[in-house]
């Protein structure tokens, strides 16, 4: 279980008043949940992910994973970045096994695990290729494989599909749901795409800016529906999906124009 308790993050610029990036955020993520944070730029969603990842200490409040307070980055929290952040001097498979190598796992074993993870993202045949020769979508899938290779309890994904074209984006969404279904991991995913948020999440958070905070929370059925039917198009065209999408768009429009939920 991941517990985020009264987390506030303030940035103090040298000039001007302090900027409250996150104010009093409370959130609990249970195993098997796919939580998506949705919001416009500046609502603090990346800040929230960075504090959970351990890259950014909260100004006040705390984050606990399985009862232990988060004090910095760690291998039990896998991160997929907006820009894949792969190592261009390593081949695809060497990138995926990089985390296992850092932990001192013997070569043969880590290679085997890395190839399994590559298979899950559909890139087993690209294992030996240099990463700089891959397309953006393939690079992002390598980033996902690298994050799952160390078997983290939590997957943190910071707008990982934002730079992909619509077709690639949909196929990577489906890969992510397949990986999620096959484990009891917690997923925390950030996006500004309403349809993506609805399709992936079991729980959807809507965030607002100034100060950054969670303003609404929804339970969402569509990702579970996908793991049962594997028919993404039918789900996204279903009346209840469209209705919920419009409802959320209205809500966001209202929030950003009035500044109140």
């Amino acid at each position: 279980m991941l517990e985020i308790e009264r987390v506030t993050v303030e940035f103090r610029p040298k000039k001007g008043p302090p900027m409250v990036a996150l104010q009093n955020v409370n959130l609990t993520i249970r195993p098997g949940e796919f939580v998506v944070a949705l919001g416009a730029s500046g609502c603090g969603k990346t800040t929230l992910l960075n504090t959970v990842a351990g890259f950014l200490p909260p100004t006040s409040g705390q984050i606990r994973l399985a009862g232990k307070t988060v004090l910095g980055p760690g291998k039990e929290r896998g991160v997929v970045f907006q820009q894949h952040a792969l190592m261009p001097w390593l081949s695809v498979v060497a990138n995926v096994e990089f985390g296992l190598r850092l932990q001192g796992m013997p070569r043969g074993e880590r290679r085997r695990i890395a190839l399994e993870c590559l298979d899950k993202v559909g890139l087993a045949q690209a294992a030996k290729q240099p990463v700089y020769e891959l397309s953006g979508g393939m690079q992002q899938r390598v980033g996902v494989a690298r994050a799952i290779a160390t078997s983290p309890d939590v997957m943190l994904l910071d707008e990982p599909l934002g730079a992909l074209d619509a077709f690639t984006r949909e196929s990577v969404q489906e890969i992510l749901l397949d990986i999620w279904r096959d484990s009891s991991r917690m997923f925390f995913f950030i996006t500004h795409d309403v349809e993506e948020a609805l399709f992936l999440s079991t729980r959807l958070l809507i965030m607002a800016a100034r100060p950054g905070r969670i303003v609404h929370e929804f339970d969402v059925p569509f990702s579970r529906r996908y793991t049962e039917t594997h028919n993404a198009r039918a789900i996204k065209a279903a009346p209840d999906f469209i209705e919920m999408r419009e409802q959320i768009l209205d809500l966001i429009r209202h929030t950003s124009s009035t500044g109140t939920p």
Binding site: P73, F81, A85, L86, M87, P88, L102, R146
Partner: protein, 289 residues
């Protein structure tokens, strides 16, 4: 059929032709200004300079004292190979001694200045210590502190190698530091999130990520090394290309001076070509990610 149905009929050929834009002349395409190979043009430039040199000397536009003809210069080269110059030292010895000086100094600089640069990039304390020292001596002309080095170290090889070493070390340390500072924070965070220690991140992420900049720094540093060679060999040297040129100028042997200059230029060019090859082999991702 309702009017909302999307037709899947292929376009007829006439429509396709009408839709195609006016064609560019075959073979041409839009590129960034300045793109393309320069090899043929560069070869032509070199040939043109040689031709101009040949004409200028053969039609006596310039006196031989100021510019000897290509043949005379070439003869100075063959004579020097056989040691028929002042000092009787064969050219190969001059070359070997100079190359050894430059490369010893260069390798010492790589072995020391690159780790210092990386430490400067990754540690506030190390940067605080070395930054003022390097920034102070870096812009000084080597000739300015040459006397001091001679007083301290004498007139042996030590002083010459030290002078060239100092010229190489500053750009190497600067390049390594810049390379470290240029590593994207996401790459470092990614390694931390995978459970990496600080030392693992320096050796397995920062060092390879900074390698392109370090290699560029090495190219610049060896250039400074060649530049400083003549200065270093002004001090009581009896062999060396720089010494050969200096000595020849005392006897107004312009042919040997020109030959020596060309030789140093060609050696430096060959080494730079080797470094560029190394760059392509070691950092094939440069500029692609």
């Amino acid at each position: 059929m309702t009017q909302h149905d999307i037709s899947t009929k292929p376009l007829p050929d006439t429509a396709r032709q009408a839709a195609s834009p006016a064609r560019l002349p075959s073979g041409s395409r839009y590129r960034t200004p300045g793109a393309g190979s320069t090899r043929a043009i560069s070869a032509a430039t070199v040939l043109a300079v040689f031709a101009l040199w040949w004409f200028a000397t053969h039609f006596a536009w310039i006196k031989p004292l100021f510019l000897p003809s290509p043949e005379v210069t070439f003869k100075a080269f063959t004579d020097a190979i056989h040691g028929n110059t002042q000092g009787q030292t064969p050219l190969l010895d001059h070359v070997l001694v100079s190359v050894t000086r430059v490369f010893c100094a260069f390798f010492l600089a790589v072995l020391t200045a690159v780790p210092i640069g990386i430490a400067m990039g990754t540690s506030r304390i190390v940067r605080g210590i070395f930054d003022p020292l390097i920034e102070f001596y870096r812009p000084l002309p080597p000739l300015a502190y040459l006397p001091l080095i001679v007083i301290w170290l004498g007139i042996d090889e030590g002083a010459k190698v030290t002078l060239i070493y100092l010229a190489c070390a500053a750009p190497l340390a600067m390049a390594a530091q810049a390379g470290v500072r240029g590593v994207p924070i996401e790459q470092i965070n990614a390694a931390y999130a995978l459970g990496g220690s600080r030392w693992q991140i320096i050796t397995l992420v920062i060092l390879p990520a900074a390698l392109p900049e370090i290699l560029t720094g090495m190219r610049i540093a060896i250039g400074f090394g060649w530049t400083t060679l003549v200065a270093a060999e002004m001090v009581a040297a009896s062999v060396g290309l720089g010494q050969m040129v200096l000595n020849a100028s005392n006897f107004l042997r312009t042919d040997i001076v020109v030959m020596g200059i060309i030789l140093i230029g060609v050696l430096a060019y060959l080494f730079d070509a080797l470094m560029r090859l190394l760059e392509r082999r070691l950092t094939p991702w440069k500029g692609r990610m």
